[in-house]
Every structure is written in C-alpha cells, then in structure tokens.
Symmetry: C2
Subunit: 449 residues, 2 copies
C-alpha cells in the first residue's frame, strides 16, 4: 500500500489509543514501514529517532537480531498453549531469572498480558490475601496524586491523573489518595537531591489513621511517568517500605515503566535498597516486541492461597494468553542480553550526556526544569520561570514541540508541557545528541517566538 | 532442560492462572516442548489432542506454516511501534477487513491486548458516549447470570460467575444482573430449538424500568462459555437488539470466545441477523499465537468523541502495545486463511460428527445433556439424570475426566461438571473422533463406577 492508501484506510477504520481523532485531520498518522535500531522509517523513507521507546517499551532498539532469532526459534516450537495444567521451558526460565534478579525475596511469578492487567491482578491478589488471613476489613488501596497505573477500572481507581479518569469517576472505586512528591514545585522548599522525603508525612498520617482498612499502597517507584516524568527521591521508597512493615500493608511496586534498566539499575527499587511485596512488570520485558506482563510476589502471599481446592482459596485470575511462550522466549533473551552485553555498564556516558544537555536547556527562560533519573530525562516547559507557572494546557506547547521535532527526524511524544527523553538503552551517543538537539531546537522554536 | 528440571523450576517460581497450586502436588504441570496441528507434545514425547484449543484461542492448529511465515515476515520489518500518531499497514488492513466482515455497520476498530482490556474499553466507551451526548445518567450496565467477561475489576463487575468474583465483591461496581437463558434446566419447560426466548422477559422488565440509568447490556452471544458452554437461542439476541433500539441502550457483544468461526459462522451475531453497537473480539483473532483484542463500533459512537481537543471528549484509553504489528500481521493472515481456504465450508461434516457422538453420550445415565453450537459441544455430567441434579462440585468429576483423558492423549480441561469440545476448526475427522472417544471412555470410567 502507498502512504496515502494506508492513511486513507486508517482514517476510515482505525480508532487510535489516547488520541483525539480530530487532531489527525491536521496531523495524519504516519505510516511506519520498518524499523532498525533506534530508528523508525515511514513509508516515504523518512527516519525518526524513537526518543520515547515507542511508549517506553523498546529497550534494545528495533529489529534486534537476537530478539528476532528468539522469536523465530520459539515460533518453530510452539507459539502458544494453555498455561493452566501445562508449562514450558521459556516460562519457567523467565520466572527463575526474574526471581533471581528482582529485589528481596520475590520468588513467585504470575503472568498476565499487559500492565493494566498486571495491576488488576496485583490489587486482587493483595485484597484476597487479607481476606484469607483473617483481616477481611483490609479492602482499600492507597495511591498518590498524579499516579498512573493503567486504564482499566481497577487501575483508574488507584490512579491520580484526572486527564485519564475524571470522566469515569462514577464508575470508579473509592480509594485513598494522598499528596505525593512534587519536587519541582516542592511545598517544603527542598530539593530532591537533598531532602529527606519530608512530603512522606502525608502518607504516614493517612496510613496511621486508616491502616486497618488498607490492603496495599501502589506506587510508581522513583518516576511518575504519565504525571510528566516526575522524579523523586529514593528516600520516599525507604520510608514507604518501613511504613508498610509497621502497619501490615502491602507495598505494591508498579515498575511497569521504570523496570528493565530505565533508572540505570535493572529495577528502580534497587536505588532504595528495598523490596516490594508485590511487583508489576511489563513494557520493556519483551524488549518492546509484544505484550507481556508479570506480577511477582513472595512466599508469604503465595502461601495464603495454597490449600486444598475445596477451601476455595485459589487465585482464579487468568487470561487466555497467560504465559505466552513467544513473549516468554523474548523476555528470557532480554535478560540474557542485559547480562551478556553488560547493558547497564554502558549507560553512564549516556547519562552524562543527558546531564550535559541539562545546562543548555535550563538556560532557556521557558524551561522550568531539566530532570533526569537514569536514562529518563524530562524538560518541563513553563510560561514563567520564576513563578513556575505552566503554559495553559489549551496551548498544547508540548504537542507543538513534538510536531517540530518530527520534522527534524525525532519522535518526542510529550506529556502536556513536559517533553521527555526515554530512548532505547542501547542508543549511541551520537543519536542521543541528535535527539537532544532536535528537542532543544524545537523548544526554542515553539516557546521563544 | 529435562522434564523434571522444568517441573522443579515451575513449582518453585511459577504461579499458574486459574489454578489451585496445591493441586499440582498430585498433578504436576506438563511441560510442552512443541506442537503441530491439533497436537501438543510434552518433553517426554507424549502427544495430546488440543481439545479446548488452548483456552479457546487456537483455530487453525499449532505451528501453522502460513501463520509462522506472517509472524517472521513482520518481525523482519518492525515488531512494534507506538500506535498514537503513527500507523502501519497490517493494522489498517486488519481494521479494513474486520469492518467488512463483522455484522452491520461496525466500522471503527480500537485495539487492546486481551479480552479483559477490550471489555473494559467497551464499558468505558459506552459510559463516556452517554456522558457526551447529554444523557449522563446512563451510567450502569446489565449482564446476565453466569456471564463471564474477563478478570479485571470492570469485567468482574459485569460477570455472573461467582466462582471468579464472589471473594472480590467489595471491590466490584454495582451493576444490574438479570436471569439469563438456562436451556438445559429451562424454567419455562421449553427447548432451545423450539422456544421464542420466553426467558427474555426478565431482561425486558428490567430495561423497561431502568433504561434511563442503563448505558449498555453486555452479553456472550449464543454460548456462555465459562458458565459451562450454555448454549441458547439466537432469538434471544434478536429480542435484545430490538430492546436496545427501543430504549436507547448499547448492545455490547462479547464475541471474544465465540467469534472467528466457533459457532459455524464467522461471528455469532450472524445467526441472529443482528449487529451490536460495540463488539469485543480476541482469542482466535491471532489464530491462537499471541495476545490481541479489538473493540469495534459504529460511526455514531465514534462521532460522539470526535471534536476539538480542548472539548476533552477524546477516548484516552491506551495500552503500550496497542495495535502491535506482529499481532496485526497474524490477524490479517487469519482472515486470509478463512477466506482462501474456505474454513467455514469445511465445518458441516465435523459438526455432523459431533452430533453423531451426541447419541452415544446421552445414553449414559450420568450425561444430562450433550449440546452443540457450531464447532463447540459440551457434555453436562449429572448425578441424577431425571432431576438433573449435578454432581457435588467438591467431587470435581470434570477434573477426573480431564485426568483420565490426558492419559488417553486428549486435553479436555473441564468447567465444573461440564466436559466440552472446542478443538481447532481445522481438526480432521479422525482426530475429532479420537477426541470424542477419549472423552466418552473417560466419562464412563469416572462416572459409571
């Protein structure tokens, strides 16, 4: 098909995710024909650096020879079979490796298909655990403001981004929400590097008062992604772990976006030296090739479900494609690549390059903050730097930067006024510099005129 | 890895879906090493006819040359990229074909990753539609007893299978539920072949009374799968469509299990000659290779979300892997295979074979009913045939049949007292006969002694 034919059929029959379709009248969807490394190529041969890892999933680049090989090899054996009553080598190999690599004593791996389903399974698992250990009043969950944990009803109920949930409020569950860290506009006047997570007092107050009704606290460790890449101190996670221990509340870590090397370590919780009770992983798990998600937990939670069938304590959650062998084979290969190619060891010069970029961006009076955690960096655009006043959302400045950057061959899909960098970990320094340059020039064009 | 090593690691690190893990002490999970056609092969070389299509997903057999080829070809182009702002040929080709093939004027295709996510998106879409067309009081959904629509909180809220949801009740939304068809134990003393869906009066009564609060009615057309393959008359769907039209309520068809040829037609709604307002598809859509789901709807619903961005009417639902090109390429190939290999035309002799089997099964005094719809058939085991009294669930008779059948080389995962057949559509008559024989002999062994 030609570009025009693809676009015509797209407009006729496709309803895109997270998109006001009317926007496509002036910004027709770009048909991608192939991809290689950090570059996506459209049907007309133009290339785009995938600066957001295609919604944060791609970690080693596109069309990766080892991942392609793993996929093809597994397809030649079995692409999928039922995972209840049956098992397979890539599934158990993946579970073994994840149990070894994740923090603490997370040792049991439950498979789902996407991040939302993993969070739903985690919430149900936590809820059911308390029902089965004699604390049935512990039914509610705590999240923090601007949290994002997915799109299904359970996920939206523990999310804090009104953009995604406000209209559905009558459909949502009543959960607790507390003010989370907001380091750029810290109400305590502190900095994320120097603070002691003083803002955690909001969480302490709530949990001290309500812990008898609380099953778990769900959080995106270190980086609140959809909130605009809000980066906060690891101290917050240390305090959270201690609080959960004190009051018998599950710490549920949503490492869907931050896992698999994004923060410079394999998992974000490593920065705080703590382990959650339940951990959700997805996105980078297959290298960005196809959907897969897992929920990890420790023996104590698993044991609360382990009994004679007739006691009805089993966790009966399932999805048809649970434990999909194609996805598991890819995920095993991802973990081998991390290990054998020493991916994390190669990140420091790239993180330095991002930091070097920070100075240039922060000189602009329309850049409120350039923040970085591992291989994730974000530029927050502001109308007024001193008062940190954002541009009115209706102006869609981030979107304008996205459009300019596309013309320069960079894909930088924004989050409101935040333009961020989350490239594949394997991006080379030249491409990373190109990405920074495209963003800088676009921001200048969009905000300095 | 050896069988023993896989099983050891499995028990140590894997938490299986829909499984009381303690059962695995006496029934260790069987490691599948490869598969071909309708046969799964374990690591010790034993084969099993996949009589349940690996949880109802496989439709053309395993390791299918055309599907493998489609997967490999797409992997050589691009396995995945962001689907907001971008598009690709397999995505638009799939959307075009689905719009053509599905009933009525369903013309817009929204992509998700699994059935649960599709149902959640459908509920949110229906809810938001009414908010945006001036009927904000239409917030609730109707489902029927024993319905199954997935595992996430929104899905469980519109489900009727207590097995999967009773323990989570405090987490669920309050929705309407009405008594659905129960043809084997019809309270009206009618038969599904001869009735006029008299039981639909329950739905009529509720909707007539509550329609101002009702956004949509969600239903599994023709076969309630998890309920034990309850098969009911297409007349019910005709009445449902008329009722929805009369009271301005969305008909949401969950064809996740019944779509893609299971009922003998490509989509179950064709039997009733009606079209839903929103339709969810998954499972067979990729031929059983990997997760993918779609939500289809018509122009009028789409239009209610189409406006200037600043009106905040967009449907902002998304999943990272929305529109995954690998999955879309498989799905396009599935539809080509249906067409080019005339799959549906080859079903009648197999359906006849199932019907011929019915007579033999129904002669057993422990078989209450042998029912069939298309290529799905179910045997309901009973303790007393006259009173239709089921075996006590604690005896797990269906599970015992499953275990016996496995020894005979057939995979027949049961639903309580119901043993069912949902093989790949391409199963040949000999394999289908083998499957029936294995089931028959196992049922005799388990219930006649």
């Amino acid at each position: 098909m030609t570009s025009e034919e693809i676009q015509r059929l797209d407009r006729k029959h496709v309803w895109h995710p997270c998109t006001q379709e009317k926007d496509l009248e002036s910004m027709p969807p770009i048909p991608i024909s192939h991809a290689d490394g950090v570059y996506l190529y459209d049907s007309d041969g133009r290339s785009y650096i995938d600066g957001v890892s295609s919604w944060w999933v791609n970690i080693f680049g596109h069309n990766h020879p080892r991942l392609n090989r793993a996929l093809i090899d597994q397809a030649g054996k079995v692409s999928h079979h039922i995972f209840a009553g049956f098992t397979h080598e890539p599934g158990v190999e993946l579970a073994r490796r994840l149990a070894e690599l994740t923090p603490g004593d997370l040792c049991k791996v439950f498979f789902t298909d996407n991040g939302s389903s993993a969070v739903e399974a985690a919430l149900k698992m936590s809820f059911q655990y308390w029902q089965q250990v004699g604390k049935p009043q512990k039914t509610r969950f705590v999240s923090i403001t601007e949290a994002y944990h997915g799109e299904t009803i359970g996920c939206l109920s523990v999310s804090g981004c009104d953009l995604y949930r406000e209209i559905y409020r009558p459909m949502l569950l009543e959960e607790y929400q507390v003010q989370g860290p907001d380091c750029y506009r810290c109400p305590y006047g502190l900095t994320r590097e120097g603070c002691n997570a003083e803002c955690f007092e909001k969480m302490e107050t709530l949990v001290a008062r309500e812990h008898e009704n609380i099953a778990g606290i769900i959080i995106e460790p270190l980086i609140q992604g959809a909130a605009g890449m809000r980066i906060y101190s690891a101290e917050y996670l240390k305090k959270l772990r201690a609080l959960c221990d004190r009051y018998q509340v599950h710490y549920i870590a949503d490492e869907i976006a931050v896992g698999f090397g994004r923060t410079g370590r394999l998992f974000a919780n490593e920065h705080a030296g703590v382990a959650p009770d339940i951990m959700c992983l997805s996105k980078g798990i297959t290298g960005g090739y196809m959907p897969l998600a897992v929920v990890l937990t420790h023996q104590a939670i698993y044991d609360a479900f382990y009994d004679d069938y007739q006691t009805m304590k089993a966790f009966l959650h399932s999805h048809s494609y649970s434990g999909n062998p194609l996805a598991c084979a890819l995920a095993v290969e991802v973990l081998k690549i991390f290990e054998e190619e020493k991916i994390l060891d190669q990140l420091p010069p790239k993180m330095n390059l991002l930091d070097a970029g920070a100075e240039r961006f922060e000189q602009l009076d329309t850049v409120g903050e350039f923040r970085r955690c591992g291989m994730v960096a974000a530029v927050e655009l502001v109308q007024d730097k001193k008062s940190k006043t954002p541009f009115p959302w209706q102006q869609r400045r981030g979107l304008e930067v996205f459009k300019k950057a596309l013309q320069k061959g960079a894909l930088l899909r924004p989050l409101g006024n935040v333009v961020y960098f989350m490239p594949p970990l394997t991006i080379d320094e030249q491409a990373l510099q190109d990405l920074l340059d495209a963003a800088y020039d676009s921001i200048v064009e969009v905000t300095q005129t």
